[in-house]
């Protein structure tokens, strides 16, 4: 007898599992589909279908409060991603290869922002800013909560995530490659630039995407540390939902969904292109 031998589950069990799998999918995705469908609803009642229309997208994008929130979100996301990628990678490198005073303590604390609850972090940051402002104000300049405090807070938690991801990559890094580069006349900086960085790049990029997503996503911390005029999009959505779900919110949420799908697809495409050019690209 040739052919595949069926092992394990009976037909009934398999059918049952398939149904279960579809149920899980439905549970995850039906709300999203409903959200997207109703964002094109011509009616102003959220739960009654009144025909297809782009009307609410127009309304949302004409709303100054919303466009300002989008702008704040994008600026904060970009700034905090760039800064935390640089700092997080630097911390990961330092922890991976140098022995210095306080290394152990840093190793333990750098991951704290990942495990402590958002709300704790938010209160901590708010108290910190209040104290810091009190101190700085005594020298003259006046600081208040605003877009810079939001960005600083996002940097604070993003560093940890970038650091974790980059360190996982560094764990597999073969240090003799750096010795080979040094032996071939590369200076310390050239070795980093030409050998170390390209090889840990998938980790750095993955850390960056994670940071970008987390920043665009954050509600709790941003709500605490933002001031007037520095409301991020998620914070705006969260606060307006208390006045009831409007079709406008559906439209904004759909836009955010599209943006994050585009981000994921973009990163996948980037990775596939690299993988075509060479091996080293499995993310982590």
């Amino acid at each position: 007898m040739s052919g595949v031998v069926e092992v394990g589950l009976g037909r009934r069990t398999r059918r049952g599992l398939a149904v279960w799998a579809w149920a899980v999918f439905a549970f995850l995705y039906v709300p999203i589909v409903v959200l997207v469908v109703f964002s094109f609803n011509a009616s102003s009642r959220v739960n009654i279908w009144g025909g297809f229309s782009f009307q609410w997208y127009g309304e949302a994008l004409r709303n100054d409060v919303i466009t300002s929130a989008i702008r704040v979100s994008l600026i904060v996301a970009l700034v905090s991603t760039v800064v935390s990628v640089v700092l997080g990678t630097a911390v990961a490198l330092a922890l991976d290869r140098y022995r210095f005073r306080g290394r152990r303590a840093l190793d333990g604390t750098v991951y704290l922002p990942i495990v402590i609850p958002d709300i704790t972090m938010a209160v901590m940051l708010l108290v910190f800013f209040a104290e810091a402002f009190k101190f700085i104000d005594s020298f003259g300049p006046r600081f208040t909560l605003g877009i810079s405090t939001v960005a600083l807070s996002h940097i604070a938690f993003n560093i940890s995530f970038v650091c974790v991801v980059v360190r996982a990559r560094l764990d597999q890094f073969d240090r003799t490659l750096e010795e080979a580069a040094r032996d071939l006349y590369a200076t310390g900086w050239q070795t980093f630039r030409r050998v170390t960085l390209p090889l840990i790049m998938p980790g750095v990029a993955a850390g960056g995407l994670l940071a970008l997503t987390l920043s665009l996503d954050d509600v709790v911390i941003s709500a605490f540390v933002s001031g007037p005029g520095s409301t991020t999009l998620p914070v705006y959505v969260f606060s307006s939902i208390r006045r009831g779900v409007t079709p406008e919110l559906n439209a904004i949420s759909t836009l955010m969904l599209t943006a994050s799908i585009a981000l994921v697809l973009g990163s996948l495409a980037l990775q596939r292109r690299r993988a075509g050019a060479g091996r080293q690209t499995q993310v982590l």
Binding site: T176, L184, Y185, A186, R194, L199, R279
Partner: protein
């Protein structure tokens, strides 16, 4: 006439890692154009010595000169040496060509010289047609060649090789031994290579330095190292040998532990305790009573016979000592366990090791 400058000159070099002494006060001079092997068991300090020449480790104390220039504390990019690493350490994100170009680009060598030298190096190691491949698309032997080309393209004054053939299987290793020797003759630069494989060291190098526990025990040609080991360790580590305790009688004779006096050259003073090294293949085994031609002999009894095809190894008990005898080729009458035999050797075969 000035004396020719040594390619590598190591003087009183010691390397400590925390409390461990990896290299202990080593003095060594390697000549220009020489194929030199650093041989020893793992952990003997040979790789650390090589890494100090490369600049990847810095000596704790001592002086290290390359063609007369002190480089002991210089970073690797300031030394006229290149290294072939043990597992090759090829850059996985670069093609064969980019790997080979790396050193030249770091030195800002520009086209047309750049591409010409890269092409020469690729031709030298017979990798034409592989330029655009990545290291993971190459076999072990090909990766080895890329590593060689990547180092040699820079025209270093000294090429360092760290167990270069360790990752290859036996047949390929033997091929590469020949190839490396030919390559060294072709380029004429000094090769310093590290190995734990004594056969490889004997087969390939002009001179060998044997290391153990951080110390350089003996430096000499393969023949000197094999025939005239200066210490028990060297005698035992290089090939197989019989070490027999003995006492010096006079400058030309030693008394073996079982009382037999044999002729053997030694400079050790009379009365001192020494060991006599007898290579198994330099000893003959005969039936007791058959005429012993010349040299020295011991009577004994065959304790064990191992048939190896091209040779037969006898373990002969002669008084308190056990002698291993290796009869190659024309084996003559085979002996069996329990046979009464006489083992004999020519005068030159016994090497006296002064303690």
């Amino acid at each position: 006439m000035t004396e020719p400058v040594a390619a590598v000159e190591i003087e009183g070099v010691t390397k400590r890692f925390d409390d461990v002494v990896a290299v202990d006060n080593v003095d060594l001079a390697i000549d220009d154009g020489e194929f030199f092997a650093l041989l020893g068991p793992s952990g003997c300090g040979k790789t650390t010595t090589l890494r100090m020449i490369a600049g990847l480790d810095l000596p704790t104390q001592g002086s290290l000169r390359i063609f007369g220039e002190e480089v002991g504390m210089a970073p690797p990019d300031r030394r006229p040496v290149n290294t072939v690493f043990q597992a090759y350490a090829l850059f996985p994100h670069m093609t064969v060509r980019q790997n080979i170009e790396f050193g030249l680009r770091m030195r800002r060598v520009k086209d047309p010289e750049l591409s010409q030298r890269v092409a020469e190096a690729i031709g030298m190691v017979r990798l034409a047609g592989m330029e655009e491949r990545r290291p993971d698309q190459l076999s072990g032997g090909q990766q080895q060649r890329v590593a060689l080309a990547r180092a040699l393209v820079n025209q270093p004054k000294v090429l360092l090789l760290d167990e270069p053939l360790g990752a290859l299987d036996l047949k390929l290793r033997q091929e590469m031994q020949q190839e490396l020797k030919a390559l060294q003759r072709e380029v004429g630069i000094t090769f310093v290579f590290v190995t734990h494989d004594q056969e490889e060291a004997l087969a390939m190098s002009e001179r060998i330095g044997v290391m153990s526990e951080g110390r350089l025990l003996q430096v000499g040609s393969p023949r000197e190292i094999y025939e005239r080991p200066s210490s028990r360790f060297v005698a035992d580590f290089i090939g197989r040998t019989n070490l027999i305790e003995a006492t010096v009688e006079s400058s030309g004779t030693v008394r073996l532990a079982n009382g037999v006096v044999i002729e053997a050259e030694t400079s050790a003073p009379a009365g001192s305790d020494v060991a006599v090294s007898l290579r198994p293949e330099r000893i003959r085994v005969q039936s007791r009573g058959a005429g012993v031609s010349a040299g020295a002999s011991l009577d004994g009894e065959v304790g064990d016979v191992t048939y190896l095809g091209h040779a037969v190894v006898y373990a002969v008990t002669a008084g308190p000592t056990l002698v291993e005898v290796r009869n190659e080729g024309e084996v003559g009458e085979p002996f069996a366990v329990g046979d009464e035999v006489t083992v004999s050797w020519d005068h030159g075969a016994a090497a006296v090791i002064a303690e």
